[in-house]
Subunit: 198 residues, 2 copies
């Protein structure tokens, strides 16, 4: 990596944590300067605007999450095991310091839905990928007669993602992992009810 | 009501919608002036600070929600009917223009958890009340042998609230009520599984 590429990558990584904790509107140039150790010019040398940096920071966190899902799904062959891996990975991710500010999809969705069409579009694409991943697992399980044919794959995706995201919000609000654990236990039982042999 | 009380009430109502849509950090004095039709001095005549107004606006929306729950629960005697009323009321509230910006608990939790201890505390108290309302219904149903004795009332509260809030986030993100409907249908089936006769 060139020095410029290294600096750009350093800025993105540091800014990602700051945006995720403080929000887009709540992050000032001073916050970004403090986190990166760079002056304003040093940051804008690499990014055309605050938006440009915010997009790169969001993509960085989402790529990191996708990587974790991809690793967790490796070698998991049954639909049931794959759905369990999705739930376990979602919750395990929140133990990583990178997601100290919570889930970037949730945070950015809430902030951008009425205010920032560019960021909202970014989150929609990311959420589409997450929903598609879950729905594909359900369809695969239905094809293999492992999951109930009566299931609506899109509904399963909404239920899994909504429950996980809502419980992340509650645990962050209270600084108490109990809500994550309750929701995880509920979802593992829910996954069992999706199976033909349940 | 005195003229001062009427003006104060008008400011709170208008500001509540703005804060809920744009967020606390995302709301400027210009936004508040445009929404209320008042000058800065006219607003600060009634509120000591932006925080002071934000607290009053949050309380206004939460009181409105509590009122809706209270009305919906009237005459609902069984625990099952009461839990259904909670779910139906949560989703029905989002058809009211007042909640155009989404759920104030969710929005304020996400924004304040890492940034604004005063607002976060306000949301914690509100969330405590919501959780307590659900847990009390579960305990009442257990006492009457209507709901399974094995249930953890706090877990039921987390599952209901997390699923509802996560689906509100998804529906707002896409501008698509499908996610609300999927989550609602799931929760109605979930409530059935809590019953002794399920």
């Amino acid at each position: 990596m060139s020095k410029a590429a290294l600096t750009r990558s350093h800025i993105i990584q540091q800014a990602a944590g700051v945006f995720n904790r403080l929000g887009y509107a709540g992050t000032s140039m001073a916050d970004l300067m403090a986190a990166t150790g760079l002056k304003k010019g040093g940051i804008y040398n690499h990014f055309a605007s605050k938006d440009d940096l915010a997009f790169a920071a969001f993509d960085y966190l989402f790529d990191w999450m996708q990587q974790r899902y991809s690793e967790a799904l490796q070698g998991r062959l049954s639909a049931r095991d794959r759905l369990i891996a999705v739930v376990e990975t979602a919750y395990a991710s929140h133990e990583d310091p990178l997601l100290q500010g919570g889930c970037p999809l949730l945070n950015t969705a809430i902030e951008s839905d009425d205010t920032h069409a560019g960021l909202r579009q970014r989150v929609r694409v990311a959420m589409d990928r997450w929903r598609t991943m879950v729905a594909k697992i359900v369809r695969y399980g239905q094809k293999n007669d492992e999951l109930l044919a009566s299931l609506d794959p899109d509904e399963v995706a909404t239920v899994l993602i909504a429950t996980m995201e809502g419980s992340v919000m509650m645990s962050k609000l209270y600084g108490d992992r109990t809500h994550l654990i309750h929701a995880r236990n509920h979802l593992l039982r829910y996954i069992d009810t999706l199976c033909e042999t349940a």
